[in-house]
Amino acid sequence: MSDYLPEEVVLEILHRLPVKSLIRFRCVSKSWNSLITTPAFINSHLTRSHSLLSNSNKLIVRHCLDKPYVEHYKLIDDSNDSFDQIQNIELPLTSRRIQHFRLIGSANGLFSLFEQERFILWNPSIRKFITLPKPCITVKAHGRLTCRPAFGFDPRTNDYKVVRIAFPTEEAKPPLIEAYSLNEDSWKLTSASFPPGIGFSCWHKPAASLGGAVHFAVYDKDNCSRPLVLSFDLGDEVFRLMSLPNCAFSGSNVQTSVIGGSLSLLFYDDRFVANKCCAIWMMKEYGVVDSWTKLLTVDLNKEIIRVLCLQKNGNILVEVNLPSDWELSSYDPKSQHVKSLGICGRPYYFHVDNYVENLVLLDKPNDAVSKRGACRKRKCRLTSDKEVCQLQEAKHLLQEILQHASVYELQLDIIHQQQTIIHQQETILLPLQEAILHDKRALQLQEALLYELETILQQQTEKIATLISQIEIMETAESKLVFLIQRLKGQAEVETMLQQKTKKMTSLKSQLEKMDTIKSKLVSLIQQFKGQVGEMSSGVGDQSSAPVQQRSQQRSSSAGQEM
């Protein structure tokens, strides 16, 4: 083949090749390598990519799995209902904070990720990422900040830009704004003035990139928190506000998006706990307030937690909370049926975008990836390549030895002898190996026996444990009985004491009774004496009365003394 194709023709062919082939054909020759990596080719390939039929129905899904903290990017064919997965690409970089990166946004199949002040641009088409230089607005320089980032594509300059709107924690100060341009590879502070009295409805969801501007969902602090759309033009770096029709209710959670090429808003309404829903509005004509139309409402009361993207067949891709996991699913608004697509991941970290193959970042210098961050698969391939090279080198050495046969004959003889020895040793080894195998089997049997014994031991120890517990129970019962017996004994003693006392009491009572009878007898006697004395004194005369009275008095006093 002596015909050389002119460069313009080669370019025509290259423009029609897919990204994977282009990357590989960089190795064809130096001229092809330089052709493929010029920014002009990268740009023109992207514009042609948009028009290719094979690219018009692809979606790229970002989902994050925990442990390992890896982000997956799946390419999916959206042209039919079966939702085939074409490819799965992993981000070959792990976050230093044992978490996932946060997504700033995506445009033309290029993703922008960040953690703290480390910003990354990642192109899954060519599996390449670059780390952006340090931004101008940092915590060191400006104190603590709350930052709203955004990522967008400016078709006028074919430039990708990362925007940061940083609010110092002292509220009175206006925010600082800077933008990174991929073409210039540098951050620059802008003099754009952020409109006062405006607050962001949402700080972390990606801002929609459309027509060379990034769009944020904001609210008017001074006007009953009326919702608005704030756009930042990536070309002239000017903020503009867009009103929404009055009937759009104010939700605290509003997100901008691009649906079918038009700016859209997702209103998450959770004012009523029993009736959560998400309303999708679309601005059919850019810039015309009256062209805002409500597409549909998605019911969020069951499993659906977030709306992600609209499919070609009218279904909606949603994030669904299932009992076992969070999954990407397809929701049919007509039948209200949710069909799981089997892609699981961390909730609120799903992201879906239209996908176009592109070569952006190919011409940028490679990132020095830390060993920790490098893809394990690539490492394995590199080591196996090394082994292949080593094998090839060994081959070359052997050939050299054969060429110098006369000098190395002796060595060959020695090698032969050694080989025979090795053979003999192998023959010796074989029965040993068999013996080892036998031993292994015996060991296995013994292990099985041991296992059985162990289980028996376990059962016995369990029995012992139950017996011990029974004994303990009995001991406690015994002590209780002893205690009771003692109490009873005590009670018996008390009873005997009582009996003795009652006996004493009865004896005393009997004594008292005796005394009472004696007393009564005495009293009756005294009365008799008194009667007799009276008779005697009255019948006989007074002569004997005085000594009789004296005798009766003496008798009564002696009777009294006897008592």
């Binding site: 023709v9 190795c27 390598n33």
Partner: protein
């Protein structure tokens, strides 16, 4: 105008770029285009028939002819065909196809290959 170069071709007798065989394949294409117009399937069948008789290496000659004749549809068609033919092939195949040689230094090519090793997966064997 599709045929200004063709007119020049016929006027200019001393012509090395386009052999007769190629000319007979390329020139009838615009007529066929007009007849079939926007019927893609029929065009595809016609194109496939054309290609069955043409070796892959011949395609580069066809492309040169179409380029020389300034014939955009044919150029687009042939480039597309070449792209489809080579897209899943190895680097060596492509070099042979275009008659190119590797002008890399020994270490450079390896570096490039290793950098994007994933792009060499699933490549057709030569």
């Amino acid at each position: 105008m599709k045929f200004c170069t063709v007119k020049q071709y016929f006027d200019d007798e001393n012509n090395n770029n386009v052999t007769n065989g190629i000319a007979t394949t390329v020139i009838p294409l615009p007529n066929k285009h007009l007849k079939i117009k926007a019927n893609n399937k029929e065009m595809e069948q016609y194109e496939q028939e054309l290609l069955r008789n043409v070796m892959p290496q011949e395609l580069t000659k066809l492309i040169l002819a179409a380029n020389y004749l300034n014939f955009k549809e044919a150029l687009d068609f042939f480039c597309r065909t070449v792209a489809n033919a080579i897209q899943n092939k190895s680097v060596d195949y492509v070099r042979k196809f275009f008659g190119l040689e590797s002008d890399f230094e020994p270490g450079e090519e390896e570096k490039l290959c290793k950098e994007f090793a994933w792009s060499f997966e699933g490549v057709d064997e030569d």
